[in-house]
């Protein structure tokens, strides 16, 4: 059962018959599915390699700040917050170098 740590996220590639499931942990600790019943017939090493390629595509590394979005402020009571919307699906929170993608500057 290959385990993959990528972009500070933990993924697991688990066999399911002759196929593979990819699960990962949400920040809440709950488990989520990135794929199920995929890569039929592939051996473990090849499935792990394909899974890593898929994971890198679905969860790209990088910082994309959204905002300031003055048209869609977050509101807390009367207070309008117009900074980057960290709850926006395009916002990737990244506060440290990833082990799997070290800084190359």
């Amino acid at each position: 059962m290959p385990s993959i740590r990528y972009n500070d996220m933990q993924f697991s590639v688990e066999p399911s018959g002759d196929r593979w499931d990819i699960t990962y942990q949400l920040p809440s600790g709950a488990s989520a599915l990135a794929g199920a019943g995929i890569f039929p017939g592939l051996p473990e090493a090849e499935a792990a390699s394909r899974a890593l390629a898929l994971i890198k595509t679905i969860f790209p590394v990088g910082v994309k700040s959204v905002g300031p979005d003055v048209n869609h402020p977050n509101r807390i009571g009367d207070l309008k917050l117009v900074g980057p919307d960290v709850t926006h699906p395009n916002f990737i929170y990244w506060d440290k170098d990833s082990v799997s993608s070290p800084k190359t500057l």
Binding site: S16, R19, D21, L26, A32, L33, A34, G35, A36, G37, I38, P40, R50, A53, L54, T57, I58, P60, K64, N71, H72, H88, P89, N90
Partner: protein, 264 residues
């Protein structure tokens, strides 16, 4: 085009019509990408497909984002190596009349907010455009046979209280004519486009509504009940298999009529 062995991507695949479509196609042998905003819905649908013996990937994404669209198209190709069917089911409603009047003064007391307009246009029109555009790009570059399926609505005829939704859905209904015309112009012969315009459908949004209001809606439906999501999924499967269906929008309403029996 055969469904078995093909690869389908369905936005809004985590519930309602999208869930029915993705499961129907998986049951018929397609490999599927379930795209949705809600991870727990993705997990449920992907698990169900696995239990059916199918292959599925789940990608949490926002269809209004160009970056997300590129990500789920690329993710589908990464997982399955090709793309043949793209169904744009993701949609929202934010109903309200354009103007509301004060009962006493007769003056305008409220306008439909730009937020309600923009959110619906972004999801139901721009989101559909982005998915159709990038799916078509992948199909053309890959040389695979394909079908693009924008989801319109019977309310494309113009529904009061839905200027945002109806405007988006009438535009979605126009897409097949324009897209296929452009494909012909560019010599692209391997991809078709058929839009589906459902009537009132038994999704959680409608079955959970006020039951008296629902009963009033059904009085105008010749079939006497809501359309089942599985019936729409079945129609989309038929569109995949019947290559003569192209450049058109098909209504599936159960016979929705205006009051006094004029079919919409």
């Amino acid at each position: 085009m055969e469904i078995k062995g093909s690869v389908a991507l369905v936005t809004g695949g985590g519930n309602g019509i999208g869930e029915a479509v993705v499961k129907h196609l998986a049951k018929a042998g397609a490999k599927v990408a379930v795209v949705d905003m809600v991870q727990k819905n993705i997990d449920r649908v992907v698990k169900d497909i696995k239990a059916m013996g199918g292959e599925a990937v789940g990608i949490q994404a926002n269809v209004t984002s160009e970056a997300d669209t590129a990500r789920y198209i690329k993710g589908t190709l990464e997982a399955f190596g090709q793309l043949n069917i793209a169904v744009s089911c993701a949609g929202i409603i934010r109903d309200g009349t354009m103007l509301s009047l004060d009962k006493e003064t007769g003056k305008v007391s409220k306008k439909l907010g730009l937020d309600k307009w923009q959110a619906v246009i972004d999801t139901n029109l721009t989101g559909t455009f982005l998915t159709m555009r990038d799916a078509a790009e992948a199909m053309v570059n890959g040389g695979w046979p394909g079908l693009l399926v924008p989801i319109s609505s019977v309310n494309k005829v113009g529904q009061v209280g839905q200027i945002n939704y109806s405007s988006a859905k009438v535009a979605d209904a126009l897409m097949p004519k324009i897209i296929v015309g452009e494909f012909l112009m560019r010599g692209i012969r391997n991809i078709r486009c058929v839009a589906i315009a459902p009537g009132y459908t038994a999704t959680p949004m409608l079955t959970g509504m006020n039951q008296d209001a629902l009963k009033a809606i059904l009085e105008d439906v010749h079939l006497g009940r809501l359309v089942a999501p599985e019936e729409i999924a079945s129609l989309i499967s038929y569109c995949v298999e019947n290559e003569a269906l192209n450049a058109t929008t098909i209504e599936i309403t159960g016979g929705l009529c205006y009051p006094r029996g004029i079919a919409k």
